[in-house]
Structures are given as structure tokens and as C-alpha cells.
């Protein structure tokens, strides 16, 4: 008994020593999701990133090689991140042991990562691994501060600024052109995630729709992603219908098939949007993460073609991919 206790004590103090040693590395102060200022290591070599959006950001800053582990979601813009070990699951959350195995200098988590992230944070802290909680990437307003934070940590402020500027430019442009629209000038929008499943005002899509100068017909529903009555959609008679399409590599055919399905639905055939041919399909990849601003551009163009005559979302998307990810635009993301 005594011997064992002694060994454990010895090991514990050894561990403690090694952590104090690493604690001496240079740190940088950043703001976490709860608004607290915390110190994290500067220039970490091995980072485990559970949410997918920060992975995209790190890749965009040209530091993708530092990411050594990921969560479930594979960031759409970083195909190579697919091969990284996955150390968390949607339903259970981070796997602390697997994370420790990767010997990270820093773990980036998300407030919405799994059901019990708090326990994981405690355990990682106990193991001496610094953890930074980032705000859920589903909130569009948090994109820019996140980029800034990551720039700081990775010592890539110049690149971070450039990246942030690009995004800010277009988001600002949309806001600038739509902010003075009167209520009458805002078309009504019915957004569909899945057959008759829509979104209310507590979802990020609400931000897209209102930023693009539209009114979400289901904004006031009591459930975040409610299934709504088809006859209500028919009666509300939205000006525009936008539906999300999921899938790894979407082609124009699949998107057009999705559109045909909506247009031919008995409940929607009579709706203004269908009659005016204002039914659009957008890849879900453009509705989350770092590509969200591109999605907003499509929304804006569809809602107010006159105001955004000079804007070609596809071209901007292409530029965005080339400039920050060194990729070509492949497949279809929006239709028509």
C-alpha cells in the first residue's frame, strides 16, 4: 500500500514538474467563448481542433500542418483534413484519452462540442493541456473575432487580417446595400432544410436571410427547426424559396433534381416563388463555417438581383478558394 502510494506521488510530482516546464513557454492572451481573457501557448506546434470552422481558418492562414486531430465534422474546404484522426463524436463529445495520445500543445473546442464538453475540459486541464473554447461557429458574428484570435495564436496576424478583410468586405457590402430597405421591399423567404422543415429566428439562417434583406416567414415559430404545415406555406405565399442540399460532391444535376422535387410538390406548385421561378437550391457547405459569407452573397443576389447586379457569387467563391485554400472551384454549390 505505502509503496504504491509513494510511487503514485512520485509520478504525480514528475508529471507536475514536466508541466511547469512546458508552462514556461511563451504565451499569448486571448478571449475565449465566455468572454474571459486566458493565456494560451504562442505558436503551438500540435493543435487538436474539434470544431471544423477553426480548422478551415487555420488552413486558410497556411498553418494546416499544425492541426493533428479533428472532431467529427470534416471541414468542406480542407479535404486533406479528412485523414486526421477523429477524437470526438457528435453524441458523446471529446475523447480525452485519444486527445492526450496526440500530445497536443493546445486543444480548440467549441461550446457546442458534444454533450459533456465541460468534463473533457476539466480532464484536459488536469492533464496540463491548455484548452481554448471558441464560440459555436454557427454564429456568423463570431467568424471575424475567431480569425483574429487564431492569427494571434499562430503569429499570423497579417494573413489573418487579409482573410478577415476579404470576408468583412463582402458581408459589409451586403449590409450596406440592404440596410435601408423598408419592410415592403423585403421579400418573404421560405427556407427549407428538408421537406417542410424550416428554421426560426434563433438559427444562423435567420441571419443570412435578414442580412440579405429578406423576411423569414417562419421566424416566429416556437421551435428552432420546426416542421411546418404545407398549407400554411401555401397560404403565406412566400416570394422566394431557398432549400439546402446536402452531400459531399453536388453536381448541377443533383441540385436541379432537388429543385424539381420542390417545384412539383402539390403544396408548393401554387406559391408565388414557384410561379415566379424563384426557387433556389444551395449547398449546405455554404451555410456553415468559413464559406458562410459566400452563402450570404448567393442569398443577397437571389433576394435582390437589382441591388447586386455587379456581384457574381460564383466568381467570388472561386477567388476565395484560390486565394486562401489554393483550390479550384469544383462541382456545384448553388442552383440556378
Amino acid at each position: 500500500m505505502n509503496k504504491n502510494t509513494f510511487i503514485i506521488l512520485m509520478l504525480a510530482s514528475l508529471l507536475a514538474l514536466s508541466f511547469t516546464a512546458s508552462g514556461e513557454a511563451e504565451t499569448v492572451q486571448v478571449v475565449d467563448a465566455s468572454g474571459e481573457h486566458i493565456d494560451v501557448p504562442l505558436n503551438p506546434e500540435r493543435i487538436v481542433v474539434l470544431p471544423s470552422t477553426p480548422i478551415e481558418m487555420i488552413y486558410a492562414l497556411g498553418e494546416g500542418k499544425r492541426v493533428v486531430g479533428r472532431g467529427v465534422g470534416v471541414p468542406p474546404q480542407c479535404p486533406s483534413a479528412k485523414d486526421l484522426p477523429c477524437v470526438a463524436s457528435c453524441s458523446v463529445g471529446p475523447n480525452v484519452e485519444a486527445i492526450l495520445d496526440l500530445k497536443p500543445d493546445l486543444v480548440l473546442m467549441c461550446t457546442s462540442n458534444g454533450s459533456k464538453p465541460a468534463t473533457a475540459v476539466e480532464r484536459l486541464h488536469a492533464a496540463g493541456i491548455p484548452v481554448l473554447s471558441l464560440p459555436s461557429s454557427c454564429e456568423p458574428d463570431t467568424l471575424l473575432p475567431q480569425i483574429e484570435t487564431l492569427g494571434k495564436i499562430l503569429n499570423k496576424s497579417v494573413e489573418a487580417n487579409e482573410f478577415a478583410d476579404f470576408i468583412e468586405k463582402y458581408l459589409g457590402l451586403i449590409e450596406e446595400r440592404t440596410k435601408d430597405l423598408g419592410p415592403d421591399e423585403k421579400p418573404t423567404v421560405y427556407f427549407e432544410c428538408k421537406e417542410y422543415k424550416t428554421v426560426n429566428e434563433e438559427t444562423p439562417l435567420q441571419h443570412h436571410i435578414s442580412l440579405a434583406g429578406g423576411t423569414n416567414i417562419a421566424a416566429e415559430q416556437p421551435v428552432k427547426k420546426p416542421i411546418v404545415s404545407s398549407e400554411w406555406v401555401l397560404e403565406t405565399n412566400p416570394d422566394i424559396i431557398i432549400a439546402g442540399a446536402k452531400g459531399e460532391s453536388l453536381t448541377e444535376e443533383t441540385l436541379s433534381a432537388a429543385r424539381d422535387e420542390i417545384v412539383s410538390r402539390p403544396g408548393l406548385k401554387e406559391v408565388k416563388a414557384v410561379k415566379d421561378k424563384k426557387v433556389y437550391i444551395i449547398s449546405k457547405k455554404l451555410m456553415k463555417g468559413i464559406s458562410e459569407p459566400i452563402g450570404c452573397l448567393y442569398f443577397a443576389k437571389w433576394l435582390h438581383p437589382d441591388l447586386f447586379k455587379d456581384i457574381d457569387p460564383t466568381a467570388i467563391h472561386k477567388e476565395f478558394l484560390q486565394k486562401f485554400f489554393g483550390q479550384e472551384l469544383e462541382g456545384s454549390y448553388a442552383y440556378p
Partner: protein
């Protein structure tokens, strides 16, 4: 309310004939109640289309009427009608399948749920969602077909296992329960391993619902359900006899194993076809036969149609509440079914007032 003392003085023939008449009439009454509820359901909904307008739109089919708006026609015939028909047809098939399965296995706890059929279907759907092609249009059919065949597969496996040990009922039920757990484990695994998007879709399927009703689907289901129900009703006598035990049934000239296999497979096809379209809708298959046994007795000649109609009534009422209570947002129909059906069922259990048809 008739007085029971009269029974003593009447001859058994009269007692029986009167009871049969009452049961037949009550079956017709129940059918009319379902039809009336259907009419009521078709006239209410999330849009402002009121009852009178809806009824006029329906009447316009039979009588010449010019002032029915196009909107009313679309809402009533293209949106509400398929859904109400789907609710009825789903309720009927779950109720009938539940009654037949309980009768053929002589066990009051049996339902498509306990035999693992729902879990099988859900597992098939989840596999399609996670591994299959996930495009809006075509993906839907992959899920349905998968769900249907996994449900059938479950029954084949369960039956094959029970055949190894002489097709005893206990083995069959336990094999079903075990398969149910296995499939639930696979579903959990798929949920665990899948991304947010797929996870949500699986949960969605597990909740079930009728909102996606399409007239084409309903038209496929109606003949399936009507024909299978009629075939199963032809087994009423065999099911009654099997209630007295396998040996008695066998001595009454019934090929017990063959009847059991036929009934199980027919009712499996019946449930599998509807849950492929609606997702998992539990509870009705279990509780509808029980409600009917308390109300109409165990004679399968009446129990099967009653259980079907009660299932229809329960599901139609639940779905109507689910689409109108906080409209236009819909409440998952399974939630309403349980909130509505469980208290009613418990009330009947506690009162245990039998033979009210006499």
C-alpha cells in the same frame, strides 16, 4: 345499457345472435366515426381556410358549385386529403398487424415494436441515411426501400431462429426482442458515428410523422393495406382457435405452424409498407388491440377490423392535433399519440368494464 340479468332468461342462440348484431352495428358505427373524424380533420388546418369553405370544396366534387376558390381546392385535396388518408391507412395497418401478431403469438405484449420490426426498419433507414446516397429526391426512396426490407429481414431471421427450436412462441418473441436490441445497438452506433446532419435525420426518422404524405404513396399503400387486411381477416377463426392453445387449434384442423408463419409475414409486410413511408410510429400496434379487446371482446372476426379502425381513429386524431395545436409548427405525431392514447388506455384498464356491447 342492457341489463345482464336478462341473459339468464334468454336462450343462448338469442344472446349470441343479439351480441353479433350489436358488434356488427358497432363496427359500422366505428367506421362512420372514423369517416366523420376524417371529414372534420379535412376541414381544419394551419391555413385560414375555414370549416365551411373546406366543406364546400368537398361538396363541389359532387354538386356543381362555382364559388370554390382554387386555394381551397389545393389545400383540401392536395395537402390535407393525402395526409388524412395516410393517417387512416397507417392506423389501420398498425392496428390490424398488432391484433394479428398478439393473437397468433398468444401474447398481449407483442407488437411490431416488440418483435423488432420497427427497430429493423429504423436500422435500415439509418443505414441508408449514413451510408447511402443522400440526395434530396432519390435518397428518400433509398431510405424507404431499405426500411421495408430490413423490417422483412428481421422477421425472416426471427422466424428462422424460432424454427430451429421447433417454432415455439417464446423463442420467437425472445428472438424478436433480441433482434430489436441488436438493431437498436446498430442505430446507436450509426448515430454515434454519424455527423450532425445525419444524426438529425436519423432522430427524425425515429420520431416518425405523416407530414410528408403524398397522394402517390397513399395510392400505393391503400391496395396493400386493404388486401392484406382482408386476407388476415380470413384467418380470424384460426386465430380464435389458436387462442385456446396450439394443441386444441391443431385438433380443430388448423395447421398451426403454417397459419403462424402466414400471419406473421403478412402482418410484417403490412407494417413494413407503412413505416417505410412514415417512420417509426409506435404504441398504436400495441395498444389498439388491447383497447378493442376491452371494448368488443377477443373474437378476431370483430377484433381485427376494430383494432384497425381504432388505430386509424387514434392516429388521425393525434395527427390532427399535431398539425393544428401550435400551427403552423407541427408537434411530432408520436408524442401526441402517446399523450392521447395512454390515458385512454389506462382508464379502460382500470375501469375494466367489459361486454359493453351486450
Amino acid at each position: 345499457m342492457p341489463i345482464h340479468e336478462d341473459d339468464e332468461m334468454m336462450h343462448a342462440e338469442e344472446v349470441y345472435t343479439n351480441a353479433s348484431w350489436r358488434k356488427t352495428i358497432l363496427t359500422l358505427v366505428l367506421f362512420l366515426i372514423v369517416a366523420a373524424l376524417g371529414l372534420f380533420a379535412i376541414s381544419i388546418g394551419a391555413s385560414s381556410l375555414g370549416m365551411s369553405e373546406s366543406i364546400r370544396a368537398i361538396m363541389a366534387v359532387f354538386l356543381p358549385m362555382d364559388d370554390v376558390s382554387h386555394f381551397a381546392e389545393v389545400v383540401v385535396f392536395q395537402l390535407r386529403l393525402p395526409r388524412i388518408l395516410l393517417a387512416i391507412i397507417t392506423g389501420v395497418s398498425l392496428g390490424v398487424a398488432g391484433a394479428v401478431m398478439q393473437g397468433v403469438l398468444r401474447n398481449p405484449l407483442v407488437s411490431p415494436f416488440t418483435l423488432g420490426l420497427s427497430s429493423g426498419a429504423a436500422c435500415g433507414a439509418a443505414l441508408a441515411i449514413v451510408l447511402g446516397v443522400g440526395i434530396l429526391g432519390t435518397g428518400q426512396y433509398i431510405i424507404m426501400i431499405n426500411a421495408f426490407f430490413f423490417s422483412l429481414l428481421t422477421m425472416v431471421v426471427v422466424y428462422a431462429i424460432s424454427r430451429i427450436r421447433g417454432a415455439s412462441i417464446e423463442t420467437l418473441i425472445l428472438a424478436g426482442v433480441a433482434m430489436g436490441y441488436l438493431f437498436s445497438a446498430v442505430i446507436s452506433l450509426l448515430q454515434y458515428a454519424s455527423g450532425n446532419e445525419q444524426l438529425r435525420e436519423i432522430v427524425f426518422w425515429l420520431m416518425g410523422g405523416l407530414y410528408a404524405a403524398k397522394i402517390e404513396n397513399v395510392m400505393i399503400l391503400i391496395p396493400i393495406v386493404v388486401i392484406l387486411t382482408m386476407i388476415l381477416m380470413r384467418y380470424s377463426w384460426d386465430l380464435n382457435a389458436m387462442g385456446a392453445g396450439e394443441e386444441v387449434a391443431s385438433s380443430l384442423g388448423i395447421n398451426v405452424k403454417q397459419v403462424r408463419m402466414a400471419c406473421l409475414f403478412l402482418s410484417t409486410v403490412l407494417t413494413a409498407s407503412v413505416i417505410a413511408f412514415t417512420g417509426v410510429i409506435g404504441f398504436i400496434g400495441l395498444v389498439s388491440p388491447h383497447i378493442c379487446r376491452l371494448l368488443i371482446g377477443s373474437d378476431h372476426r370483430y377484433l381485427i377490423p376494430w383494432s384497425g379502425l381504432t388505430g386509424a381513429l387514434l392516429l388521425l386524431a393525434s395527427d390532427t392535433i399535431s398539425r393544428t395545436m401550435i400551427s403552423p409548427t407541427e408537434i411530432p405525431v408520436g408524442v401526441v399519440t402517446s399523450f392521447l392514447g395512454v390515458p385512454f388506455f389506462l382508464y379502460l384498464l382500470v375501469r375494466r368494464k367489459r361486454r359493453w356491447w351486450q
